[in-house]
């Protein structure tokens, strides 16, 4: 079974984000593997192993030929990667991004299953999984907290408000996995060394047959009209507990008439 994992390479979430003059997220420095996608990578490795053979292939769209995050996922055990990097892609919204990813998956060829996270950590649009599936014409099984494959089918537990639904489809299909579904492995030293020589197929939008009107600013068909700081909430009273602070809480709740 061949599995593609969509992995986003993002600025370190621990560092405060910044916007460019065009109001897009600054992605100039080194990018890292989105932690949310490390679950998909681990899941793919486990599913391929359970199926008794096949390949885990990564697909990523990122600026400046960024490969740092891809190397992390390759070091975990993925076999190879397709990297789409092209100045023409700047300003792409999630639908344009999905077009790029869907074309990249077609380029990989012979794919049984595509895994993504439910949303990226930096953009969190949350629509790429469903859009990629729709572009490929495959079923989308979203918000999976458990995944199994067999007999040409994929079966998931889909997170719901009340609990979960069991959802099944025949392959090929797209599955988005929630954080924490599996415990991502740490790359071994051997894995890190091997990752340096694993193939990364670097392509442009044109290589994928996508015209300039379908991606980037033109494809997004939206414009940012205003950016401003959110009104800050005022901090109120602060009480150091001397053994009686709970009484102040009771008083506060009584004033609000909730007790």
């Amino acid at each position: 079974m061949n599995v593609v994992v969509c992995v986003k390479q993002i600025p370190d979430p621990a560092v405060p984000g910044e916007l460019t003059a065009e109001h897009t997220l600054k992605r100039e420095g080194k990018l890292i593997l989105d932690e949310s996608d490390s679950y998909g990578v681990e899941m793919a490795l486990q599913l391929v192993e359970a199926a008794g053979g096949g390949e885990v292939v990564l697909v990523s769209m990122a600026p400046n030929d960024e490969v740092s995050g891809l190397r992390t996922a390759l070091a975990m055990g993925a076999a190879r990667a397709v990297l789409v990097s092209d100045p023409a892609l700047a300003g792409s919204d999630s639908l344009s991004t999905s077009k790029v990813i869907a074309k990249s998956i077609e380029r990989v060829g012979d794919v049984d299953l595509v895994l993504t996270a439910t949303e990226s950590s930096d953009g969190y649009a949350g629509t790429v999984p469903g859009q990629v599936a729709a572009l490929l014409g495959w079923p989308a099984l979203t918000f999976a907290k458990h995944v199994e494959t067999g007999d040409g089918k994929v079966k998931i537990q889909r997170q719901t408000e009340a609990g979960y639904d069991t959802v099944e489809a025949s392959l090929p299909a797209v599955v988005s996995v929630t954080a924490g579904v599996v415990e991502p492995r740490y790359p071994s030293f051997k894995g890190i060394m091997a990752a340096k020589n694993k193939p990364v197929d670097a392509v442009t939008a044109a290589d994928l047959g996508l015209g300039a009107d379908q991606v980037g600013w033109a494809g997004a068909r939206q414009e940012i009209t205003n950016v401003e700081a959110a009104p800050a909430r005022q901090a109120g009273e602060k009480v150091e507990d001397d053994g009686t602070a709970h009484e102040r809480v009771v008083e506060f709740l009584e004033n609000l008439k909730v007790i």
Binding site: A140, T142, G163, D165, H246
Partner: protein, 323 residues
């Protein structure tokens, strides 16, 4: 030109329209356009009554069969778009809402704006307000291409209010052929037992974080206090990831947005990703032993102290008052 028709993707569970759907209908009816719902699921008549009460005049009803409801709804919408020409389609930023918005966006080749918090319509132009950097920065984005414009709105962005209208007219769409997208079938549903009010609907929310120290304290401190106040309990991601409580309880950027009358944060540091899910609560009480914890910057009442001491004393005091 101006906006003349708005569709809302209607969601319901057990015959009850979700609160986020009612919020969307309430906001959409202010736009002064024809307001219609599209719904995939059971109990169309009861759903139409609630949708109508909140301003919808029509409810297109699709029978999803075993299909995912979002897939059935989006497929029906795509089939109706040419004849009905909606200008704007609103979805909740929910599981099924996201499925539906994604699929429709590809079917119509239209961009979607998600995580919306505000909506502004000026003539025929639609602008959506979102927040980035953990809610610190507000961004307005305007659609520049042709409609219908697709927008997903985060729950609790608007208040739901009845318009007192009668039931929406049900227009039966029947079942739809969604092609391979429709091959994802729901085989079974599991509902975890739920006691007390829902997290998004409760007047009072008590949430716990890593500062509780261990899993057992969640029950004895957070759940206990919440029950006493007839509220709901929530959590920070730290303790969801540690497996102390299920994901459904997570408040924040990747969890629920809550806006109760009172939010009580116990042993939660107040990372921006948590704040974005609760900082619009009417009143915030924080209990944290670190006087520098960022949660205090949004708290109306901050108690600097050990939650293992303050909360049991608080529980006893409330019991004594209400006994």
């Amino acid at each position: 030109m101006s906006i003349s028709k708005v569709w809302v993707h209607v969601e319901a569970a057990g015959g009850k329209v979700t609160s986020s759907t009612l919020e969307l209908l309430t906001e959409a009816r202010k736009l002064g356009a024809t307001l219609e719902g599209v719904y995939a699921g059971d109990d169309a008549a009861t759903v139409a009554a609630q949708a109508g009460e909140h301003g919808a005049t029509k409810l297109y009803h699709v029978d999803p069969g075993e299909m995912l409801p979002g897939v059935a709804a989006a497929t029906a919408m795509a089939g109706l778009v040419d004849a009905e020409s909606p200008d704007l389609v609103l979805f909740s930023q929910s599981y099924d809402g996201r499925d539906a918005a994604s699929l429709l966006s590809v079917k119509l080749d239209r961009p979607t704006l998600t995580n919306g918090l505000a909506l502004a319509v000026d003539g025929d132009s639609v602008t959506v307000g979102t927040a980035i950097f953990g809610g610190m920065t507000l961004v307005d984005t305007k659609f520049t291409g042709p409609g219908p414009h697709l927008v997903a709105i985060r729950p609790k962005s608007f208040a739901a209010e009845s318009a007192g209208g009668g039931a929406a007219e049900v227009v039966e769409v029947g079942s739809v052929d969604a092609g391979r997208a429709g091959e994802a079938l729901v085989l079974d549903r599991f509902a975890e037992e739920q006691t007390g009010p829902k997290l998004e609907e409760a007047e009072i929310v008590v949430s716990g974080g890593r500062g509780l120290g261990d899993e057992a304290n969640y029950k004895t401190l957070v759940e206990e206090l919440a029950k006493l106040l007839k509220g709901a309990f929530g959590a920070s991601r730290a303790i969801v990831d540690s497996g102390w409580v299920p994901y459904a309880l997570q408040v924040g950027q990747t969890g629920k947005t809550v806006k109760p009358k009172v939010y009580i944060a116990i042993g939660i540091s107040g990372a921006t990703q948590h704040l974005v899910g609760m900082k619009n609560s009417d009143n915030i009480i924080a209990i944290n032993k670190d006087s520098e914890a960022p949660i205090f910057s949004v708290a109306d009442l901050g108690i600097v102290g050990d939650c293992k001491k303050v909360v049991p004393a608080l529980i006893e005091a409330i019991k004594a008052k209400t006994a």
